[in-house]
């Protein structure tokens, strides 16, 4: 085997660089614009200021939207952690007729376009005369957050070695003790990561939320969504966009570092 990696062909490097710029420059520009002194999309900005952050933080409607988004994301994440882990634990080792259909059901909310989830829920709420509220938003979010936690938990469950559970039981621990002291420590970081991804997903969700929020309840993404069509407050929208970026990127980074070493879980080698 060759010990050294050959140098990449120049065309390949250029194509890679172009793709990197393509997926990153637009997001970086949002940050630049949040500090732009201009009210329009003018480029290059005539100057830079942190003033828009001050203005944005003085806005009651923005704070209300952030508060609602945080509440929805927290509740949806809690429900998803509970139900997603239960589903993963149940599907982990079991083999029964229809198992494939059940596992399909647990990925369907992400596999089908969000608009379908949104409209289906909306028409169900309408038919049952359920008024839109924070709970209808949360209901929609939890549905796809479950999928994220489920996938993360299942991937980790599969890596837990059966012999550790056996050993624990052989040494006299009961099922709950085994779960508490053997299984839980091994899945904890995966659950935390799943929860963080679910939180990030819920915090910036708009496609389903448009259908389940009604007119009164504006999450932060709904607030931005409305600004896209009647752009009256571009500078504030830029700041709101940066806030959404930060609140979603931090949990995603944390989730990455939590699961990065997952491959080295004790006993995974069997």
């Amino acid at each position: 085997m060759r010990s050294e990696t050959p140098r990449p062909p120049i065309l390949l490097s250029l194509a890679t660089l172009a793709a990197l710029l393509f997926i990153h420059v637009p997001l970086l520009l949002i940050i630049v614009y949040a500090f732009s002194a201009d009210v329009s999309f003018q480029f290059p900005p005539s100057g830079f200021t942190t003033n828009w952050f001050v203005v944005a933080f003085g806005r009651a409607d923005l704070w209300k939207a952030i508060g609602l988004s945080l509440r929805v994301a927290s509740i949806a994440t809690m429900i998803a952690l509970l139900l997603g882990t239960m589903a993963a634990a149940a599907l982990w080792k079991s083999r029964f007729f229809g198992r494939d259909y059940i596992s399909l059901m647990f990925v369907l909310p992400i596999a089908l376009p969000g608009i379908i989830t949104g409209i289906a829920l909306r028409s169900a709420f309408n038919l049952m005369d359920i008024p839109f509220s924070i709970w209808t938003i949360m209901l929609g979010h939890a549905t796809f957050c479950i999928v994220v936690v489920f996938n993360n938990a299942l991937a980790r469950f599969r890596r837990i070695s059966g012999s550790m559970i056996e050993a624990s039981m052989d040494l006299g621990a009961d099922g709950f003790q085994t779960f508490r002291y053997v299984v839980l420590p091994q899945i904890a970081s995966a659950l935390l990561a799943g929860g963080m991804l679910a939180f990030a997903l819920s915090f910036d969700e708009v496609i389903v939320t448009v259908f389940t929020s009604g007119l009164e309840n504006k999450t932060l993404p709904i607030w931005i969504y409305e600004q896209l069509f009647k752009p009256r407050e571009r500078p504030i929208t830029n700041v709101a966009a940066v806030i959404v970026m930060l609140v979603t990127i931090i949990p995603v980074l944390a989730a990455y570092f939590l699961t990065r070493d997952g491959e080295h879980t004790a006993g995974a080698g069997k």
């Binding site: 637009p26 520009l29 080792k93 379908i116 549905t143 039981m169 910036d204 496609i207 995603v252």
Partner: protein, 334 residues
């Protein structure tokens, strides 16, 4: 659902599980508190235990999600009273047939063409990137590359769409930069092009297309990279040792092995484009795509049956797509 209780799985499987080590465990259990007894019962009744675990999540998704979905899709087989605007609850095919009216069928075709174009463009951009990341990024750089794809993938969808409004709008960045470079005539010539052109970049088909590619590209990169990582290096060496040109190795060795990854990625780019309704609203020539049609029919038009009929289109297309993808081994690449 109920199958879990009717057919409990064989208890102590050779691979191990909750019922593992049962024999040794039973002799050891003399003094047991309530929790212990409960866990004994659960372990001795793995069927009931699994059912207990299963019931809450299955009820949630089964009732709330699948229930709403079926309730909504069922409307496709009813029709609407044109004058009163109320739904006539009598089974009929007439709403489904409406999909084949020229105006509606155009929407379906346009969406399919767009989804195909977005998928192909994503694959063309993703492949070299994934190849570079899989073959030349080592150690720390591998993690960096992974994060550089993960972060945009997880970044707010809405913020990403918004950023392209900043780029494409008439006083936006791309026209400004082109003006600065005295290349505005080039842009104007481009916008004169039939079909893809328009009044400005942000109101052209090309605008919609580029935003779609931008948003779904990371979904194409990740599975492609994963597939390329699994190509054994010695296979490539064998190919070159046996006298193949690098281009021949690429075509006959790497490409077939990377294909399942590309197809896995295409599931995302295709499906996500099929169902999107926000991108064409924000950036585009205000023509309708399936997502917009569904959105309008259930909203302002109040025609729930037609909205449901339209919803069947992406579902059926994706079912066909998934069965083809499965046959080509894409699921192993996920």
């Amino acid at each position: 659902m109920t199958q879990a209780s009717e057919r409990p799985p064989p208890r102590p499987t050779p691979q191990g599980g909750w019922g593992e080590g049962l024999a040794a465990y039973e002799t050891a259990s003399e003094k047991r508190n309530f929790g212990g007894k409960l866990s004994d019962w659960l372990i001795n009744n793995p069927g009931s235990f699994l059912t207990l675990l299963f019931i809450p999540p299955t009820l949630w998704l089964g009732l709330i999600y699948i229930g709403s979905l079926l309730l909504f899709l069922g409307h496709a087989f009813f029709s609407i009273d044109e004058f009163a605007g109320t739904i006539i609850y009598e089974p009929t095919w007439s709403t489904i047939v409406q999909l084949f009216q020229p105006a509606n069928f155009d929407i379906i075709l346009r969406t399919l063409v767009m989804a195909t174009a977005v998928t192909i463009a994503s694959a063309i951009i993703a492949y070299p990137f994934a190849y570079f990341a899989a073959r030349y990024a080592k150690g720390k750089w591998k993690a960096v590359f992974y994060l550089l794809v993960m972060l945009p993938l997880w970044s707010s969808y809405l913020v990403k769409v918004y950023s392209w409004k900043l780029l494409l709008s008439q006083e936006g960045i791309i026209p400004s930069v082109l003006k600065y470079l005295h290349l505005t005539p080039l842009l104007e010539a481009f916008l004169q092009l039939p079909v893809i052109g328009g009044n400005s970049l942000s109101t052209s088909y090309f605008g919609t297309f580029i935003v779609f590619v931008y948003i779904w590209l990371p979904y194409m990169i990740l599975p492609t990279q994963a597939a390329l990582e699994r190509v054994p290096l010695n296979l490539l060496e064998a190919s070159s040792d046996l006298g193949a040109w690098p281009s021949q190795t690429l075509l006959h060795v790497t490409w077939p092995l990377a294909l399942p990854g590309l197809i896995a990625g295409s599931i995302f780019t295709f499906s996500l484009t099929l169902g999107d309704y926000i991108v064409p609203q924000v950036v585009g020539s205000s023509t309708l795509y399936i997502g917009n049609a569904v959105y309008l029919q259930q909203g302002t038009a109040g025609n729930l049956p037609l909205a449901a009929a339209f919803t069947f289109v992406p579902i059926i297309i994706m079912l066909i797509y998934l069965s083809i993808a499965k046959r080509m081994g894409a699921f192993n690449a996920l």
